[in-house]
């Protein structure tokens, strides 16, 4: 088998393995679907009146918040990948991967890309519920851009949390993985446009690169897609993916030292 074929088939089997948990463990997918869906519905019910504030970009709060729930679904799928990696390390399964002669980047890519698989189900649920409850239809291009950006974010999240898993090698790191994703997604223009955020959150959201991704996912649901609304998100994701993948790869290289 050529080197490229080995890498691609390794990525393939690891992605397929990740599907097992969803397909073979009844109820395993439920928490991942429930959390972002409840969040979307709950916030819409509680804070929906915020759209009456001057400067809000839409009259439909569910259209505004649905993209955040998509990002949450993607982010938590990535966090789950990190938690599962810790479990694999504790059970010795990771040694088996490490013993394979496969290049490390391919091993990591297989694990990271599997987060995208995991994210698809909750993202579909959130999208369906949101659209049924009146969220604006983003159009085909808006939908494709939203899904592409969110799935790429799931890879960023997975790289980050796998890096943490390799660093700490214990389930006690799980809350750190979940909390970091929580903050990454919510410390943005998650609840309201930047101008309407108050105090410290306005400052943090203006600095947080994930804000660009949230806005990129949101554009189809509130205004309409454009290149200027998309390219900042793509650039941010490319940089974040590079940095977090390198972080995880470094963790893999340091294993056993």
């Amino acid at each position: 088998m050529s080197a490229l074929a080995l890498e691609l088939s390794t990525i393939g089997v690891l992605m397929r393995r990740a599907l097992n948990e969803i397909l073979r463990v009844p109820g395993a997918a439920i928490p991942g679907i429930l959390a972002p869906s409840l969040f979307m519905l709950g916030l819409t019910g509680a804070f929906g009146a915020l759209t009456e504030l001057t400067g809000f970009s839409t009259e439909s709060y569910i259209s505004f918040i649905l993209p955040v729930s998509l990002m949450q679904a993607a982010g938590f799928a990535g966090a789950a990948t990190g938690v599962n990696t810790v479990r694999d390390i504790e059970l010795g399964w990771f040694d088996r991967l490490y013993l394979a002669p496969t290049p490390r980047p391919a091993l990591l890519a297989g694990i990271v890309l599997s987060a995208g698989f995991r994210a698809l189900l909750p993202m579909t649920a959130v999208l369906t519920i949101g659209l049924l409850l009146g969220a604006q239809w983003p159009g085909v291009s808006g939908l494709l851009i939203a899904v592409l950006l969110a799935l790429t974010f799931s890879a960023v999240s997975a790289s980050w949390t796998v890096g943490l898993a390799l660093r700490f090698r214990t389930q006690a790191a799980a809350p750190l993985m979940q909390a970091s994703m929580f903050m990454a997604v919510l410390f943005t223009t998650s609840y309201a446009p930047l101008e309407l955020l108050t105090g410290w959150l306005q400052t943090v959201a203006s600095i947080n690169p994930v804000t660009q991704v949230v806005e990129g996912v949101r554009q189809g649901f509130v205004e309409g897609v454009s290149f200027t609304g998309t390219w900042p998100a793509l650039v941010v994701l490319a940089v974040l993916l590079g940095l977090t993948f390198a972080f995880a790869l470094r963790g893999l290289a340091k294993t056993g030292r």
Binding site: M1, V13, R17, E21, G92, R96, Y98, P101, T102, G256
Partner: protein, 326 residues
């Protein structure tokens, strides 16, 4: 070329803990080498270094001709590993895991499937190959783990305590498979805390204690170093004053309970048992019990370190011969 060559291998962990303190060993091609030692001696740390899971902090090790630190990927292509914990995914079936392992080792799909089909049968799991591993017993998991270690036909096989926790029949099945592999030319490096396992399987044994090699050699040669077999003789109560004199004809006698219990080293080995019994009978001495005690690797360890190997406190393999007094 040796299959495994180790020179001054060391591993120091954070906090200054030296789990392995400069060991030297060599394992020839096609050999079964048993690495024996008490818990915490450094066996697993050594195996993890030789299988590239842990980087040595000192010394050098070559496995299948490749340096474990500098040519780790080349080492991994040549070795199969079954670790102490059979690290298996409970959600996958045995056959799926075999095919996954084949893919990770670069076997083309058709070849991987063929190897998986053959190996599940070989390790006796053909009937359960499509069942999820979560339903397997401990013995089944170990057999699957062993099969997975063989999927790419490794030159050197590392087995870290392969039969710990298994029942006797499962253990025997693993032993049979190890012998068969070795007959086919695979070098086997085996760690164990079971003396009998090392005795039964190994061409050579290395005993590690507290991170250092205590002693190394063939099982027979090591045991011969600590002495010959001895006979535990227990006589019935009575006038046994002359018993020591009778027994002294056959070897050195160590009296136990006065006039009743004796230990005699058999200069002629087990072949002297019948003459001893005849001599005692002719002297009118009634035997209550007779036990032949062979030296064991634990005796070897005891002689070398002053301590027993953990988990096997019995000194000597006892072949109990109950002889009724006439």
């Amino acid at each position: 070329m040796a299959a495994i060559e180790v020179q001054g291998l060391e591993r120091e962990f954070k906090g200054g803990v030296k789990a392995v303190q400069g060991i030297d060993l060599a394992v020839g091609e096609g050999e079964i080498y048993a690495f024996l030692g008490p818990n915490g001696a450094g066996k697993t740390t050594t195996v993890r270094m030789l299988t590239t899971l842990l980087r040595p902090t000192g010394g050098r090790a070559l496995v299948a001709g490749h340096d474990v630190a500098k040519e780790a990927a080349a080492v991994r292509r040549q070795i199969g590993v079954a670790l102490q914990e059979a690290a298996l995914d409970p959600l996958m079936s045995g056959h799926e895991l075999m095919r996954l392992q084949a893919t990770l080792h670069g076997l083309p799909r058709a070849e991987g499937r063929r190897r998986a089909d053959a190996l599940v049968e070989r390790v006796g799991l053909g009937y359960a190959k499509d069942r999820r591993v979560g339903t397997y017993s401990g013995g089944m998991r170990r057999r699957l783990d062993l099969g997975m270690a063989l999927v790419h036909e490794p030159r050197v096989l590392f087995l870290d305590e392969p039969t710990t926790g298994l029942d006797p029949s499962s253990r025997a099945a693993i032993w049979d498979e190890v012998r068969r592999l070795n007959d086919e030319g695979t070098t086997v490096f085996l760690t164990t805390q079971y003396l009998e396992e090392a005795d039964q399987l190994a061409d050579r044994v290395g005993i590690i204690d507290d991170g250092r090699m205590a002693i190394e050699g063939t099982p027979a040669a090591l045991k011969a170093q600590v002495g010959q077999p001895h006979l535990d003789v227990c006589l019935t109560d009575g006038a046994n004053d002359h018993a020591e004199g009778v027994l002294a004809r056959f070897g050195e006698v160590r009296p136990g309970i006065e006039g009743v219990h004796f230990q005699v080293t058999l200069a002629g080995g087990a072949g002297d048992i019948a003459p001893v019994v005849r001599a005692l009978d002719e002297a009118g001495l009634a035997v209550a019990q007779l036990n032949l005690v062979n030296p064991t690797l634990d005796d070897v360890f005891l002689a070398e370190t002053g301590r027993h190997l953990e988990g096997d406190q019995d000194t000597g393999e006892v072949a109990a011969l109950s002889v009724e007094s006439g």
